[in-house]
Amino acid sequence: MATELSAVPTASERMAYRAAQELRDEDVVFVGIGLPNLACNLARATHAPGLFMIYESGAVGAIPERLPVSIGDPSLVTDSLAVVGQADIFQCMLQRGLIEVGFLGGAQVDRWGNINTTVIGDYANPKVRLPGSGGACEIAVHARRLLIVMRMSKRTFVETCDFVTSPGHRVNGKRRAELGMPGGGPTRIITDLGVLDFDATGEAVLAEVYPSVTPEQVRAACGWPLRTAEALRTAAEPDVSVLRLLREKLDPQRLYL
């Protein structure tokens, strides 16, 4: 099964790596399944061995032996530091302000970092019915730093979300502080083309592009007129050793890569 290792990262590998760079040692992270989980495992395996992972299923301080196939995978329970009911997760961990980093993705995101995971089209008569919020809304409200990880396209990076499931920096013209939201709101949007930061007004601006990508390509994939930060940086990409780690150790079955 062993194939020659390509030194070119896939879009997923880029995003997992770039997201991992946002995590600091000892951060308490509310982890979702898929790329966020991979990013956390990569951070733990490299620069943030003390990363503390909490899952909405109730596993606290989990160290799964296998890549979890669902947010409630049994491997998250075995050998975790604590397993608690979901009431404790949402009340005593998230609402209490203990979560430093949250991860979200979605079907649509707008320039304020509002996210839609509910419907495409009209709420009462949707074109597509999506899974809904799950814990996303409260993560967006309470996490001190929120990382949004999504592939970019005009279809997903939209002028206005059809439905705001998870509020960002500005909803219906109101800033999150006015709305009384305790969390810090979105810190960055990590995409397959580059990274968007949020400026002082709460608007997403292009701040980093991957080496092979031009700012024009990024703007072309965005549904609103995307502004560019004054100093555009080059986004860090995984080197061969990181790619080997991701492909051979962290997701050998390529569930998410």
């Binding site: 399944i33 898929g34 909405e56 299923s57 109730g58 596993a59 196939v69 669902s70 947010i71 409630g72 995978d73 049994p74 329970v77 075995t78 397993v83 608690v84 009911g85 979901q86 009431a87 949402f90 998230l94 609402q95 509002n114 509910t118 089209g121 009209d122 709420y123 009462a124 008569n125 949707p126 074109k127 597509v128 019915r129 899974p131 809904g132 919020s133 799950g134 814990g135 996303a136 809304c137 409260e138 967006a140 409200v141 309470h142 439905f163 705001v164 499931t165 998870s166 509020p167 909803v171 219906n172 109101k174 999150r176 709305l179 009384g180 939201m181 305790p182």
Partner: protein
């Protein structure tokens, strides 16, 4: 009081047309056996409640048992969509399911209120977003000390809760470990509780480790012994998730024809759970059976 009975008896005695129902479990301990028996008994117009309606809820929807879904995340976890739900809730559907939608924290809060005997529950959530805009059951309450506006949701008291556990005695004292989800809240919120267990043990054995008891028998009306009742979901310490089934389900459920064929074969076409298990691929249960990771006991002496 000995409350042991068959799944058939428990469902017949507790789930009626038009009632509200929770088959709980968060990826862990989801009692598919109970859902299938409800389908076989032909129940209709149910209000199906759960944070994470998954395959068994979708099967209830496909079978026409559900009128309304109260939920916060509906999908095939880690795989894809619930296709019966989508077919019944998108603009193109002729016969639309009624949806009442929260986030996890919001629906859990409704159950917390129900379990605690309060008419509402406060939570710091929903400011600005659209969830509260489209759901009139999410209101505002003002803190009498700080003046802060918080979200409030009303108590939810389901007619019936079905709680799967690792072990219970004949009175319904149920012990659970691993993920606890919202099972305690659901049980205390419900008007009637059916406990389903992998193992029925003596009351003496329950009493050996009282901190493990999640649901006390005093709130339980029926107890069913149904090993492997959660397949394809998992039961910590008993068996793993049948992930291949979840992946295959995407194809089975995408087309109404294959979906109905599956229901015919595995739900309508079997008389009970034993019969269902007998139809699974040979060797599958052995493959899924948990590899032991037994912890030490603790000392309750004095």
């Amino acid at each position: 009081m000995n409350k042991l009975c068959s799944m058939k008896e428990a469902i017949a005695a507790s789930v009626t047309d038009g009632c509200s129902l929770v088959i709980d479990g968060f990826t862990h301990l989801i009692c598919f056996a109970a859902g299938h028996e409800i389908i076989r008994q032909g129940r209709r117009n149910l209000t199906a409640i759960r944070l994470t309606p998954d395959l068994v809820y979708d099967q209830l929807i496909e079978a026409g048992a559900v009128r309304k879904l109260v939920f916060s995340w509906a999908g095939n976890p880690g795989v894809g969509s619930l296709h019966a739900l989508r077919r019944r809730s998108e603009a193109s559907s002729p016969e639309r399911l009624e949806l009442e939608e929260y986030s996890h924290f919001g629906l859990l809060s409704r159950l917390l209120a129900g379990s605690a005997g309060l008419p509402f529950w406060p939570l710091n959530n929903y400011a600005g977003g659209d969830i509260a805009r489209v759901n009139p059951s999410i209101k505002t309450v003002t803190c009498p000390f700080t003046g802060q506006a918080l979200a409030a949701v009303p108590a939810l008291r389901p007619d019936v809760a079905i709680i799967h556990c690792q072990r219970a005695d004949a009175e319904g004292n149920a012990q659970v470990w691993g993920l606890l989800g919202s099972q305690k809240e659901v049980a205390f919120a419900a008007k009637k509780v059916v406990v389903v267990a992998e193992e029925i043990v003596s009351t003496e054995r329950i009493r050996k480790d009282p901190n493990r008891t999640l649901v006390p028998g005093i709130i339980v009306s029926h107890v069913v012994h149904e090993p492997w009742g959660c397949h394809p979901s998992f039961v910590q310490g008993f068996h793993d998730r049948d992930n291949d089934f979840y992946v295959k389900w995407e194809d089975i459920s995408r087309q109404p024809e294959t979906y109905r064929a599956w229901l015919e074969e595995f739900v309508y076409g079997v008389k009970d759970r034993q019969d269902y298990l007998a139809r699974l691929e040979t060797g599958l249960l052995d493959k899924l059976r948990a590899k032991a990771r037994v912890c030490e006991g603790v000392d309750y002496g004095y």
